[in-house]
């Protein structure tokens, strides 16, 4: 083998190895859940979400999760939501999970919503008993924090596999909030609802697409 050929082979080998490693890392970095856009037109849009106690599918059968409804009425396993700037977002969340209780009861008061209230199963509330909360929907940068009432532990016909249908036991939480200037905000559930993890705050609580998400405010 000539020197040049050997040099070429070694260089190509190194380049290939480096490319493989870079591919391994970058492909992990770029994984994000699909974007679900709010329906309706600015300045009034609607977001419909549901929470499930256990996703029921791989890769994490037992993880608690949010799901979002897209424009075609289909439930998407995603927490990346797109809403227009300077608009009112009307949110409807169907809650299929049972109550866990808030780690810090302070979050029992809804804040950042229109009128500082939420509508739970048709009743307007300005505070939810923290023990009844199953999850929260919080966008700290907008000051939004909404406790979500859980399904009673002894309710019949509880949902076990996502996506849940409205014929199964659930509570309905409605509220609206205002978006400001464009940007990428994050939202989060503040309830320690990750079964099996220390302090209830591992796994799905720290994973995009499950109980963590982005709110993409677009101009």
């Amino acid at each position: 083998m000539s020197k040049a050929a050997r040099f070429g082979i070694v260089s190509a080998g190194i380049a290939a190895g480096a490319a493989l490693i870079a591919f391994y890392i970058v492909s992990y970095l770029t994984v994000t859940p699909p974007v679900v856009a709010a329906t309706g037109t600015a300045p009034q849009v609607n977001l419909t979400l549901q929470t499930v106690a256990a996703f029921g599918h791989p890769p994490h059968v037992d993880w608690v999760s949010y799901l979002a409804e897209n424009a075609h009425g289909k439930w998407v396993h995603s927490t990346v939501l797109r809403v227009p700037a300077n608009s009112t977002v009307n949110v409807t969340i169907y809650q299929f999970d049972t109550a866990t209780g808030l780690r810090n009861p302070f979050w029992g008061r809804p804040r950042g919503t229109a009128g500082g209230t939420i509508n739970v199963d048709g009743k307007t509330l300005n505070v939810l008993n923290p023990d009844l909360a199953s999850h929260t929907f919080a966008i700290p940068d907008l000051g939004v924090s909404v406790p979500l009432k859980g399904v009673a532990d002894d309710a019949k016909n509880q949902c076990s596999v996502a996506p849940c249908s409205l014929s199964e036991a659930h509570t309905t939480v409605k509220f609206s909030f205002q978006t400001g200037k464009p940007g990428k905000l994050r939202w989060q559930c503040f309830v320690p609802c990750a079964a099996g993890f220390p302090l209830g705050f591992g796994g799905p609580m720290q994973s995009l697409g499950w109980m963590d998400g982005y709110l993409e405010v677009v101009g």
Partner: protein, 631 residues
């Protein structure tokens, strides 16, 4: 026997079958599945494991069996089993020839040194790639292009990879290769353990990289519990990799310690010992005493995660201060595990190119030993604002500042050695001198962190990050490259291209400083470490840093290009002693014979007697009264 083995060389495909890296990988992967299945059986009936969709027992068992498979595949079980079956002991069953020996268990310390050089080097560059990807994220103050969780994994992988790999960055390649040559020995004290220490490193590196596949690591390299307790399965990879590395470091330290204490050639008194060997000796002491603490700490995290214990969970009676104290009891000596070999290298290089004896040799030794001793007494400065017993803070402030006295000795040695010298700015010398400049900034910025009022501002900010990059990257990595350019002609038998080397040096030096000096300002301007979003007014500063960091990364590509060019294409043979050094290792022919010394030499004078009228040669290589090789 070995002559016949070389004479009849089987075809390549035949040579890849046997105990080597490929077999190790195959058995390791099989072990992973076997262990995972066993762990699955063990988890039955334990709701806390199954409810998480993340059976930590299964993962740890998988790693355990994968490691066993890897080591068996490499042939580490052969010797103990052979001895059990009654075979007689031997020392050189693995000292084979040919390029395939680099992919096998090999007990020749020179082969292990080169394995370390390339093995650790590869992981160093992967860690560097992570840094480039991190700086890409920090180009903008918002979370783009990588989401927060993935960014944290990058941070953790970069930090953990670099700490794990750079711990053996100098002791691995150069300690293993040159300590026996410098002390006139034919091998290390424990050759099989030496091979083991290396082969644990790629296992740890691969396991750490597997964290990506298991949801990543969200804790940074420090892995603070209880954050680590609730982390995803990637934490299991972190814990396992750190345990492996800590075992490896302990054994490296033990091996080098025993070698230096017991195998010095006749006449090599403590005051004739090369200063690099003193640096290795001091580092080995630190490794033997500090690294086992890490094994214990990580095992406790493992128990918390897999066995439902609560060492670090306050709500169940544990304390995260326990973790922080244990971790930093390892972690602070670890900082000097990274610094001391660098001291040794630069003080070894300086006299050769200053053409003067090392000025204040005893002071340098005292400095290294002083750092070794004090480094065990400073760890709580990492906990100044943690709410630990506040009455202890003045004590740790004092000990932390005291450690700058022995460190200062090293600077005095350098100033004295350069004084009225005949300095030649070769590439190794440039790196050694840059070490002093960087370490000066790194060391002095550490004084801010040691002072509690100042630390209240700087703790946990980019100031800390800039500080330790100045000491580790600016110190250790510059010393490492100095050593590479100094010793590679002896190790690989080729001369590196000097023009490319000088471009590498100047780019690395300039862009290193342009990358990390502005980060002191970022820390002062309240930018915390490990964030993917930051205040928008810091964007210009961060963009400048990112641009410099990319250029710093590019300078590494120049090094790789130079290495490949010189090693594969140009192949300019190196002289036996191109630097006209008095070091014992340079008196040997290149390539160094398998047995190093035909006869064990008798050391007749110190290694730095430059300009000393009538100084005898460093050693007598043909002493009449001493035993010949092979006995």
């Amino acid at each position: 026997m070995s002559a016949t083995a070389i004479a009849v060389r089987p075809p390549v495909w035949r040579r890849v079958i046997g105990f080597n890296m490929l077999t190790g990988l195959a058995l390791g992967i099989s072990g992973w599945f076997l262990g995972g299945w066993i762990g699955g059986q063990m988890a039955v009936g334990h709701d806390y494991l199954l409810g998480t969709d993340q059976n930590d027992v299964g993962i740890f068992m998988g790693y355990l069996f994968a490691i066993i498979g890897w080591l068996v595949g490499l042939g580490f079980a052969n010797y103990p089993i052979g001895r059990l079956l009654g075979r007689s002991p031997t020392l050189r069953e693995h000292e084979t020839a040919g390029w395939t020996r680099y992919f096998k268990m090999c007990t020749d310390h020179k082969v292990v040194g080169i394995q370390y050089l390339f093995g650790v080097g590869i992981f160093f560059f992967i860690g560097g790639l992570n840094a480039m990807l991190m700086r890409t994220e920090l180009l903008r103050p918002v979370e783009r292009p990588w989401p927060a969780g993935q960014y944290l994994t990058l941070v953790s992988l970069h930090g953990t990879m670099m700490i794990m790999m750079t711990s053996a960055f100098i002791l691995g390649p150069f300690g293993n290769y040159f300590v026996p040559l410098m002390i006139g020995a034919r091998r290390m004290a424990f050759p099989r353990i030496e091979a083991l220490t290396f082969w644990l490193v790629p296992a740890a590196g691969l396991i750490l990289m597997s964290a990506i596949a298991f949801g990543g690591i969200a804790t940074g390299w420090t892995g603070y519990s209880p954050l680590a307790d609730e982390g995803r399965a990637g934490m299991d990879a972190y814990v396992t990799a750190f345990i492996l590395i800590a075992i490896s470091l302990t054994l490296v330290g033990l091996n080098l310690l025993v070698t230096i204490l017991t195998m010095r050639a006749p006449g090599l008194t403590w005051t004739r010992l090369p200063i690099f060997v003193w640096g290795v000796l001091a580092t080995s002491v630190l490794m033997v005493l500090a690294a086992p603490v890490l094994v214990a700490t990580m095992t406790m995290v493992l128990m918390d995660r897999a066995a439902n214990t609560s060492f670090f969970l306050a709500s169940a009676g544990g304390s995260q201060y326990l973790y922080q104290n244990l971790f930093w009891f390892f972690g602070h000596p670890e900082v000097y595990i990274l610094a001391l070999p660098g001291f040794g290298i630069v003080l070894e290089i300086l006299p050769v190119f200053a053409r003067k004896p090392l000025w204040g040799y005893r002071l340098a030794v005292a400095g290294m030993l002083g750092v070794t001793l004090l480094s065990f007494m400073v760890w709580q400065h990492h906990l100044f604002v943690s709410g630990m017993n506040a009455g202890l803070r003045p004590f740790y402030m004092l000990t932390t500042e005291l450690i700058s006295i022995p460190t200062g000795f090293i600077f005095l040695n350098a100033i004295g050695t350069l004084w009225r010298a005949r300095i030649r700015f070769t590439v190794p010398m440039l790196f050694a001198l840059a070490f002093f400049f960087n370490f000066l900034i790194g060391g002095l910025s550490g004084v801010f962190l040691s002072d509690v009022p100042s630390d209240v501002t700087t703790h946990g900010s980019y100031f800390v990050m800039a500080h330790f990059h100045y000491t580790i990257m600016g110190g250790l990595v510059f010393a490492f490259f100095g050593a590479v350019y100094y010793w590679l002609p002896k190790m690989l038998g080729v001369t590196l291209n000097e023009t490319l080397a000088k471009i590498h040096f100047w780019m690395m030096f300039v862009f290193f400083n342009l990358t990390f000096f502005p980060l002191f300002a970022a820390g002062f301007l309240d930018m915390p470490r490990r964030v993917s979003t930051y205040a928008p007014h810091l964007q210009v500063l961060n963009d400048f840093v990112s641009a410099s960091a990319f250029m710093l990364g590019f300078s590494m590509l120049i090094f790789i290009a130079n290495l490949v060019w010189s090693l594969v294409f140009a192949r300019v043979p190196a002289l036996a002693n191109p630097w006209a050094s008095r070091g014992l290792e340079w008196q040997l022919p290149t390539p160094v014979p398998t047995e190093n010394f035909e006869r064990i030499p008798v050391i007749t004078s110190g290694p730095y007697e430059y300009g000393v009228a009538g100084a005898p040669p460093v050693a007598d290589f043909t002493p009449a009264a001493l035993p010949a090789a092979g006995s």
